[in-house]
Subunit: 244 residues, 2 copies
Amino acid sequence: MTDRPLRRQPLYSQIKQQLLRRIGDGEWQENDALPSEWDLADELGASQGTVRKALSELVADGLLYRAQGRGTFVAPAPSEWGEGLLLTPGLFNEQPDDLAREFLGISRGNASDDMAAALQLRRAAPLLRVRQLWRWHGIPVAVDEAFLPADEFEGLDARWLRGSSGVYQALQQRFGIRLKVLCEQFRALMLPREESALLGVTGMVAEAPALSLIRVSGSMEGVPLEWRQRYCLTHNWAYTARRA
Amino acid sequence: MTDRPLRRQPLYSQIKQQLLRRIGDGEWQENDALPSEWDLADELGASQGTVRKALSELVADGLLYRAQGRGTFVAPAPSEWGEGLLLTPGLFNEQPDDLAREFLGISRGNASDDMAAALQLRRAAPLLRVRQLWRWHGIPVAVDEAFLPADEFEGLDARWLRGSSGVYQALQQRFGIRLKVLCEQFRALMLPREESALLGVTGMVAEAPALSLIRVSGSMEGVPLEWRQRYCLTHNWAYTARRA
């Protein structure tokens, strides 16, 4: 029972981990093509069938995608905005504008009862708390708090988050885990004090109504892994979902 | 050029209209099975091929659906709530509750510039304005205004709307047009005065924040046909979309 070979992963699984690590290290960027199965098999000293099995699992996990006749590519991380886009008030006929993200910090905390229930964790389980601010042409429009199970994502730090386009890209690159949205809830609330300050809402309009989004995201298998709370200012913008 | 036969619709198209009229008259309700192609062909004095063509077009229009090996059924109208559901505050773990709808009235008006643009109509085009109130266990939670091009839906009246489960069912039964959501926009706003009164928000909390939803729906081909404005109270409820 102490033999190492008994605990060794199957070869395709080792190859999978190795490819993930190389993607994480930036050898292949989002939407870059991987070498062909032939070339990978050659380079890794494995059969083409073994390489194909590793690639197929990574496609199933959402980390790679195939394009008919063109090869296998690194999947871009899902948008931090989900299917919703923040637009200017010219409703329905504007192109989505690029939002600039500012990483505010990462800290540790404990799950509230709502979070613990949604993330299927024990009460007051340790969480990582990642804060981000979104600006539109320099103007703050939204502030995010993402809460992640600390035990699952040990080692996620400010360096990874600052160097990525957001939480989802960091998780994909650092942990090989792609998140998908499981549930989103919208409410209209008065903006809390801390978020008011971050969004520059002061003085007369300190009591601004804000769109509150709570999103639970999880693995491709549906295991919840993120609780996100977002506050958006919507007097000049709207949260838009297109379905056409 | 005055011959009636020249202007006569092809037989499958006549059968389509006839089936739509019978669905509209309530001969077959939502999720009822239609007679078999054989029986319909027999009854209508047409070939089975002609009946099949009529049924296939109604399936493509979203008004009927087929169940493998079981037959062809009348499609239920889409939910007035879209994919969003109004829930109690126990986030993410509650079953959606049945909302009771109250038809408030139908009137005529003119398109605002935003509406005209979104519905691809001329400025100040005539619209039908349908108002509905939604209650949860008797408590008002949301109020809707649906604006429809008056020229498209001449004859839509209070009788049809009162007898249906909502605008979408009335359009499907009365006009044989199934709507789908093209775009939805969420904002947080202070509740307007008229809606405050309808939702029973008075006194101290007359300045309540409300979730504003603007939805543009259209035909299966994507032609916009409805502008809907909804105000929801979300201090005790949340607008939820599940995607898992």
